[in-house]
């Protein structure tokens, strides 16, 4: 009995230590989804790591919710029997070969076949360093996705998020983390006993802006996760400094600053170190997000007496209210094509994720929970990641634009929140 309890404590501790790794759960496998077979790669020489490529690609396609990816029993290295694959209702087939060139370098060749037209849709041959295996798998996933669906995938990208773990004596540990799009390769960028909020990838994916309370109040910082460079603190007045959003050119950041109690949105030019005020109302204006062309910002304001979403055209200076349905709409973010907004929308007593067509004003409620927040588009705009509560635990959830839940990211040790999806790697 005592032993069991000790063991339980040990297991719990162990899971706290390993908390950086998020568990990925694919929620629904749609039977209608595109059937694709990704065969195990032919391995020449001792290229064990090579097997990883096919596995990662399969997981990617299954997570997307748009594909039903499976493996094949055998390696494919000879003439492909199209009739056999047709009879198995496979629509596309991926196979390849990995060969060890030297200790650290592999040669990879990949083929994508369209089974119905008996045609090769894509093939590529290249050399890859041992450390680049995962990235290559994501890159190839994007290429294959595009060859099949005619639009870009969102696999060769990164996520950032905040984890919160309860520690002894009521203390909490906050971590700013980044990972690949499949939540693998997690890296901790910052550990703090104070809250961290609103991480945002820069358009070049080299910097992260975020809000931290490490100095006792909310301040916006910029950190460089991949190079040794000093963390930069953005200026503020006498109140809150928060809600960073990158301009698409990466040169400036919109943020919320409180001056003599009035919270407005400002744009800070990083090189010129110049602040430009973008909103002038006495009410709360916050949660700015730039349109993909950089010509507008969407933001949250209570200027009408209710919390609603507004769009300011930065060229004409005109402000238009964007949301009319519901009594609470906040934290809106533009879709990559600039035509839609995703936001937090209150339905009765619940806070859910909703999608708004800016032109037609059609609002679609995407989720079914009670405390959803921080929605963000995948870079191709086909998925929305957001934070929610499942069994009293903060998790990240992803829905496809068709409203289908696709996958969930959870930490055994604590809460995961505030997701942000990077742009494409360059």
């Amino acid at each position: 009995m005592r032993f069991t309890r000790l063991l339980a404590v040990f297991v719990c501790l162990y899971s706290v230590m390993a908390h950086a790794i998020l568990e990925v759960t694919v929620l629904k496998q749609d039977e209608e989804a595109f059937p694709i077979v990704i065969a195990p790669f032919e391995v020449v020489g001792n290229a064990k790591q090579g097997q990883e490529i096919a596995n990662i690609m399969r997981d990617n396609f299954n997570r997307s919710g748009e594909f039903n990816a499976s493996s094949s029993k055998d390696v494919i290295n000879a003439e492909v029997d199209y009739d056999k694959w047709r009879s198995q209702k496979t629509e596309a087939l991926v196979y390849g070969k990995i060969e060890k060139v030297n200790k650290k370098v592999f040669k990879v060749k990949v083929h994508l076949l369209d089974i119905y037209s008996s045609k090769e849709l894509y093939t590529k041959e290249f050399s890859v360093h041992n450390s680049g295996i995962r990235r290559i798998a994501h890159y190839l996933s994007d290429q294959i996705y595009e060859a099949l669906l005619g639009e870009k995938g969102s696999f060769y990208t990164r996520l950032s998020y905040i984890t919160v773990v309860n520690k002894e004596r009521g203390k909490r540990e906050y971590r700013l983390e980044i990972s690949h799009s499949d939540a693998q390769n997690p890296q901790t960028i910052l550990v703090s006993s104070s809250p961290i909020l609103s991480p945002a990838w820069s358009p070049d994916q080299k910097k992260i802006a975020y809000v931290s309370f490490e100095n006792g109040r909310s301040e916006v910082f910029i950190r460089y996760p991949f190079v040794r460079r000093k963390t930069q603190k953005l200026p503020y007045f006498d109140g809150i400094s928060s809600a960073p959003s990158w301009h698409p050119d990466g040169q400036s950041i919109a943020l919320t600053l409180s001056k003599k109690g009035n919270k407005d949105i400002y744009s800070y030019h990083l090189k010129d170190k110049k602040l430009t005020r973008l909103t002038f109302d006495n009410s709360i204006d916050t949660e700015a997000n730039y349109s993909p062309d950089g010509d507008s910002i969407v933001f949250t304001s209570n200027r009408s007496g209710q919390v609603q979403v507004y769009i300011k055209n930065l060229i004409t200076g005109k402000i238009k209210r964007a949301t009319f349905a519901g009594t609470y709409n906040a934290k809106a973010v533009f879709s990559p094509d600039g035509k839609q907004l995703v936001m937090v929308h209150r339905v009765d007593k619940d806070y859910r994720i909703a999608l708004l067509d800016i032109k037609t004003k059609d609002l679609i409620i995407m989720t079914n929970n009670s405390l959803d927040e921080s929605p963000y588009f995948s870079p191709n705009g086909n998925m929305i990641i957001f934070a929610t509560n499942k069994k009293n635990q903060g998790v990240l959830s992803v829905v496809s634009l068709l409203g289908r839940e696709t996958f969930e990211l959870a930490s055994k040790a604590g809460e995961v929140r505030e997701p942000n999806w990077s742009h494409y790697s360059r």
Binding site: A8, S218, I284, T286, E287
Partner: protein, 185 residues
């Protein structure tokens, strides 16, 4: 009040280790050995220790013993150090105004003390909006203190929904968390 804090904290702790049972059953093959009562009993001890140190609202921060004694005396008089607000609201009601006036008089009587007002929100709605909302709540209190010419001695800090007193996801918990705290130094 204390009871509620303990209960909600135990929920947090249990949920952090929600996989224990699963793990234990996998490892020992005897899932019946660990009963729910056992685990509750084991965690409660820890939580009481937690409660004393962290969830208590601090009304004083600093090293000045004179100020500390004065604040303790004020608290013993029954003056309220935490004001509560309505959903999405930052208006001060009459009852709160009376308490703020007591604090104003205290500050006038004790010119050496300075005050930090920390503004908080419940978990509903977005974190960034709640950060702004928490600041407005603290600013509403500061505005009344300003009528007593105390503006320069009052600092406002917002924590939004980041420092909840209650972890409960219900109206009772939310009501406790929509607040402004008085911290003297």
């Amino acid at each position: 009040m204390i009871k509620i804090v303990i209960l909600s904290a135990s929920v947090v702790l249990l949920s952090a280790c929600s996989t224990i049972e699963e793990f234990v059953s996998k490892i020992t093959g005897e899932p019946d050995v660990v009963t729910v009562e056992d685990r509750r009993g084991a965690t409660q001890e820890n939580i009481i220790a937690q409660d004393n140190s962290s969830f208590e609202v601090q009304n004083y921060s600093g090293t000045n013993a004179v100020v500390k004694d004065a604040v303790t005396a004020l608290k013993e008089e029954g003056v309220v150090f935490v004001l509560h607000f309505s959903y999405d609201g930052y208006e001060i009601d009459e009852k709160s105004t009376k308490e703020i006036i007591k604090h104003a008089n205290f500050m006038r009587d004790n010119p050496q003390v300075n005050l930090t007002l920390s503004g908080h929100a419940d978990e509903r709605g977005t974190r960034e909006y709640n950060l702004a909302l928490g600041e407005n709540r603290a600013l509403s209190v500061k505005e009344i203190l300003g009528l007593y010419d105390l503006t320069t001695r009052v600092e406002v800090i917002s924590f939004g929904e980041e420092k909840p007193i209650s972890q409960a996801h219900d109206e009772q918990g939310w009501q406790q968390n929509r607040r402004v705290e008085f911290i003297y130094k």
